[in-house]
């Protein structure tokens, strides 16, 4: 995709008070849905704009602002893919050169940050003498480290000069690693990024008036430097934070910390700029940055465009049923209730379970009321929409019913048969099964075409992924309804075939199996977790097991073993753990220490040698790669990219690994095992479709 060039458009305001002021607008000619970005074309336009301004003999000041609702959101990502070291260095140098010209102008310059301002957008603002910020600007951030690069157009050098090292590191490193958290205008202002926080309604006029005052000298701005902790302590704290987040698996946060530290220790600006260019040249062509851009495109574009969505119109959802009101069931009920705001029937055979579900759902609403995010009246109305029942009859009239009952096929079949007796023929039946066959559940129904898989991840409110499972019998309308529901629930939906474990559970189980095998070989649980976390995973497999629950994990493992006995061993240790009733491997009350029962009952292979960290990782990755190859051959997803999307959004695997397929391709594992990369660029039909 070619760069949508952001032009720097020069106009002049002839101020009655101070004379001629240049007004420079950044505008790529599109509306706010395509924000201003900077590529080579934009930098050339800025260069030309500064030529134009400098040619005017009588300019007294300059105001830089963006098109409506947008300031600028940083570099043009389309230029990042396959960037070479030379291109990366030149991109950094060119930005420094042109932004530097802005900074060197002989009259006061003011950045009027009117809207979303990120990365290079924030950097160009830092090159102005002063900054005003609209109180309704969408967000401010340095997302570079999230993409495994560093702010390379002066951000790491100018931010600490303006707001101090600690604040700069918070924004450049901490927020970027914290799910790319952004700043609200009030927060950005408190950190010192803006000299004035101004109401949105008069933002331009008030900013211009401030520039006039600064030019005329009727106003001066003095900034109090932030009181800083000892720099060593600040840097040490943020390094430990980065370790905790990425475990050293990407250099970017550490490079950013070094750059900020250099500036904070009084480093020369020109030298700092060179160092930024060095960092860009190292990082941008690197594996992690390339994978991060790939991940960004998957989650921001492919998932949102839904190329797989059927053309059939979805069924309008005016009433929802949830059968099975346990942990998953009530979470789904709470989500449907708050996003769809339609009558909801919570059905369970156990009144005590229903009572707990009611408590949980109403408690969630009450919490939102207490936080001021929901009015008490609205909460009462939402509560009134819910029927808690042990009968099927109230499900009549539902447009969709989701089952979240125990993972036993016969139970689910019986429940669907019961539901079918009360709902009308068009009602979509969705199953939240994590590993059972959706087709088998639908087989005996009068209308098997209405059954679709809608697999959410626990905790439902947090994890953004939904696997949408279609069987050979599923109708386009049911699938379209599933995608529409996912969108209403603000989830990212990826389609997959009706195969055991679908995507995330299948891969995690195979991965976990390899890790379990390392323990069987004599390695410690914690050592295995740490070895794997060095890939950059948010948590190790045995840490994750505590979240999923050993019983569920053992069940999925058994299902997968039954389906694919060649690749999924039935490790008795996991079955033992599942049956033990323990919440996981670790007894966290003692730190990351296994329960004595686990230590005693986990059977190791006789005479086996513990593996090195390297060997643990290699074994886990090769097992994963092998499973991915099998999934692609089987047609579980349309393309390896969708596996990556699932691992990014459903398992929290890092952007800088591109999920997992991209990583396997980048590191040569795919080539070694299969002689070809996994990630393709065409979508194939799903199995059974």
């Amino acid at each position: 995709m070619a760069e949508l060039v952001t032009a720097f458009k020069v106009g002049y305001a002839d101020s009655r008070r101070v004379g001629r002021l240049a007004v420079v607008t950044m505008d790529n000619g599109a509306d706010y849905t395509k924000p201003n970005t900077f590529g080579a074309g934009a930098l050339a336009s800025l260069d030309a704009a500064l030529d134009e301004v400098e040619r005017q003999p009588d300019v007294k000041g300059l105001l830089l602002t963006g098109k409506p609702f947008i300031f600028a959101v940083g570099a043009d990502l389309t230029a990042f893919t396959d960037a070479t070291e030379e291109l990366a260095r030149e991109g950094g140098r060119r930005g420094h050169e042109v932004f530097g010209r802005l900074r060197d102008l002989p009259f006061p310059t003011l950045a009027a940050i009117n809207g979303a301002c990120m990365g290079g957008g924030l950097e160009i603002a830092l090159h102005c003498d002063y900054r005003t910020l609209s109180a309704k600007a969408a967000a401010l951030a340095f997302p570079e480290v999230f993409l495994s690069i560093v702010p390379g157009w002066g951000g790491t050098q100018l931010a600490p000069r303006l707001v101090g090292a600690a604040n700069a590191l918070t924004v450049i490193v901490r927020n970027a690693l914290d799910n790319n958290r952004t700043l609200k205008p009030q927060q950005a202002s408190e950190l010192g990024f803006a000299d004035r926080l101004l109401p949105a309604v008069d933002f331009f006029e008030d900013s211009l008036a401030l520039l006039e005052d600064l030019v005329s000298g009727t106003t001066t701005i003095t900034r109090t430097p932030p009181v800083e902790d000892d720099l060593d302590a600040v840097v040490d704290r943020i390094r430990r934070y980065a370790d905790d987040k990425v475990h050293g698996a990407t250099r970017a946060p550490y490079a950013a910390i070094d750059l900020v530290e250099f500036a904070a220790r009084g480093g020369d600006l020109a030298e700092g700029r060179h160092r930024e260019e060095d960092a860009l040249a190292e990082l941008l062509p690197g594996r992690q940055a390339q994978a991060a851009v790939y991940s960004f495109n998957l989650t921001q574009q492919r998932v949102k465009r839904q190329p797989w969505k059927p053309a059939a119109p979805p069924r309008t959802v005016t009433k929802v049923g949830v059968v099975g009101a346990g942990l998953m069931g009530w979470q789904l009920g709470a989500l449907f209730l708050q996003r769809c705001e339609v009558p909801l029937v919570m059905k369970d055979i156990d009144q005590a379970v229903l009572d707990r579900a009611r408590q949980a759902i109403e408690g969630e609403l009450d919490t939102r009321v207490a936080k001021g995010r929901l009015s008490a009246g609205k909460a009462a109305f939402l509560k009134s929409l819910v029927t808690y029942t042990t009968d099927d009859a109230p499900l009549a009239g539902a447009d969709v019913v989701v089952e979240a009952v125990v993972e036993v096929l016969d139970v689910k079949r019986a429940i669907f048969a019961d539901i079918e007796r009360v709902v009308d023929d068009g009602c979509v039946l969705a199953t939240n099964t994590s590993s059972l066959s959706v087709a088998a559940m639908a087989a005996d129904l009068r209308h098997p075409e209405r059954v679709v898989g809608l697999h959410f991840f626990n905790p439902v409110a947090v994890l953004p992924l939904v696997e949408v499972v279609r069987t050979p019998a599923t109708s386009d309308e049911a699938v379209a309804t599933a995608f529409a529901i996912a969108k209403t629930l603000r989830k990212s939906a990826v389609p997959c075939a009706d195969t055991p474990g679908f995507v995330v559970n299948r891969l995690l189980t195979r991965f976990m199996g390899a890790c379990g095998e390392a323990v069987n070989q004599g390695n410690d649980f914690a050592q295995v977790d740490d070895a794997v976390k060095a890939l950059g995973l948010p948590m190790g497999p045995f840490e994750l097991l505590g979240l999923v629950g050993p019983r569920v994990a053992a069940h999925v493992a058994r299902t997968l073993h039954d389906a694919y006995p060649d690749r999924f061993d039935l490790d008795p240790n996991f079955q033992m753990l599942g049956d033990s009733g323990l919440p996981g491997v670790y007894d966290w009350s003692r730190g990351r220490v296994p329960y004595d029962e686990v230590r005693e009952r986990w059977e190791r292979r006789a005479g086996a040698q513990p593996l090195t960290d390297e060997e643990i990782r290699a074994a886990a990755l090769e097992a994963t790669a092998d499973e991915i190859r099998a999934m692609l051959d089987e047609g579980v997803v349309a393309d390896a990219r969708d596996i990556d999307t699932c691992m990014l959004l459903g398992a929290g695997w890092p952007f800088f690994n591109g999920g997992i397929c991209k990583y396997l391709d980048q590191t040569g594992i795919s080539e070694k095992l299969f002689g070809a990369p996994l990630v393709g660029d065409t979508d194939r039909a799903l199995a059974g479709a």
């Binding site: 458009k9 106009g11 607008t25 602002t65």
Partner: protein, 392 residues
């Protein structure tokens, strides 16, 4: 009448008037944003005005569609950040829109129902050409309730020339040139700086700051005007040069109960004495200001000589000359439109009454010996109005 309170003029602002059309100042600017700009400026200029004390936000627009729809008095109150407790409404009397906002607001104050009211008018004729979306009843023509020409303002001006043969094209053009000259002089003297606020507007060339009216053509000569076409009638007298333009603009005033103004330390600059609205023949609607003013003078017992200054809308030069002739005033009377008028500045229909009132206030501010001033307008479909103010 005895127990009426005084409704006083505190302040007024408007944005620069732009030319309607794709190249005009406001081509890419919403009408409601222009309204909001004036309300914000009014608040900014009057720090003593507690927004929560504003009792109403009254706005006129001729075409209440699109960015002028949805009860613009209420939408603009919210958009301007006024407390949600401040209500608003929208009205229409075409060219007399803002003037009707002002008389309505003043009446609410005079009877004691309200104390502080913003009253204004908006017309974005670039977004809403005259008559947009209108569906005139066929009975108007079938039953000859009005002549064909009544709906075309330029033709009503030609009709007025027919009725008043003493008003030649040359006299009309002379008046138009004078309007341009007076505006240029007033602009040089900074008259408009007292109530015109600049606005940032979006354009294909990025943000632009508009500071001065776009419409005036300083240096216009009689010779220039003689060459213009007469689009409403072959061989006619009405041209683009001796008529008001098609324009975009927004303006408003702050009116207050006199005691409330004193309490808040707001200046009371003039008080509304009385007003009239009258109907005239729609085919010669430009005649409207004459009977409106006659009736107002009669009601108040004043003579035209008692009036120190008249701010009259210049829909057409012929309409202004008719007024001057009727009251025995010379074409270059210094007390009628001393700062020039709409022929030079432009006429964004429902907005103009606000501009005229603001200019009258400025005249009073700079003429200590003045006492009475009139604001008068003609209105489409045959109406006239006249509002009498007394300097405080």
């Amino acid at each position: 009448m005895a127990d009426l309170r005084d409704a006083v003029y505190v302040d007024g602002v408007r944005v620069p008037i732009g030319r309607a059309g794709p190249k005009g100042y406001y081509a890419a600017t919403r009408a409601d944003d222009m309204v909001v700009r004036t309300i914000r400026a009014l608040l900014d200029r009057n720090p003593g005005l507690d927004p929560a004390r504003i009792d109403d936000n009254v706005w006129a627009a001729t075409t209440q569609q699109g960015d002028q729809a949805l009860t613009i008095g209420r939408t603009s109150a919210i958009l301007a950040g006024l407390p949600k407790s401040v209500p608003g409404y929208a009205i229409d009397r075409m060219c007399a829109g803002a003037l009707t906002s002002i008389t309505n607001a003043a009446n609410a104050i005079r009877v004691g129902a309200q104390q502080l009211v913003i009253a204004g008018g908006i017309e974005h004729m670039g977004h809403h050409p005259m008559g947009q979306g209108a569906d005139p009843n066929p009975r108007f023509l079938a039953e000859q309730l009005v002549g064909m020409s009544a709906l075309v303002m330029g033709q009503t001006a030609e009709n007025l020339h027919d009725e008043l043969p003493d008003i030649t094209k040359e006299r009309a053009d002379t008046y138009a040139v004078q309007s341009q000259e007076r505006v240029a002089k007033a602009r040089a003297e900074g008259v408009f700086d007292s109530h015109v606020v600049r606005m940032a507007v979006w354009s294909d060339d990025g943000w632009q700051v508009v500071t001065d009216d776009e419409h005036p053509r300083p240096g216009t000569t009689l010779e220039d005007l003689a060459t213009l076409k007469t689009p409403f009638r072959a061989g006619g007298r009405v041209t683009a040069g001796n008529a008001a333009g098609l324009n975009d603009g927004a303006g408003c005033v702050l009116l207050a109960n006199r005691e409330t103004a004193a309490e808040l330390g707001l200046p009371a600059r003039m008080r509304l004495v009385d007003y009239t609205f009258v109907g005239v023949e729609p085919e010669t609607m430009g005649y409207g200001p004459i009977p409106a003013t006659e009736r107002l003078l009669t009601r108040t017992g004043l003579a035209i000589d008692d009036i120190d200054v008249v701010e009259m809308n210049e829909a057409f030069a012929v309409q202004c000359v008719a007024f001057l002739d009727h009251f025995g005033l010379p074409l270059d009377s210094p007390k009628v439109n001393p700062y020039g008028g709409a022929i030079a500045m432009g006429h964004p229909l429902a907005m103009s009454g606000a501009r005229l009132t603001q200019q009258l206030a400025h005249w009073f501010d700079t003429h200590d010996d003045a006492r009475y001033g009139l604001v008068t307008l003609c209105v489409g479909l045959g109406m006239g109005c006249s509002v009498l103010w007394e300097r405080i």
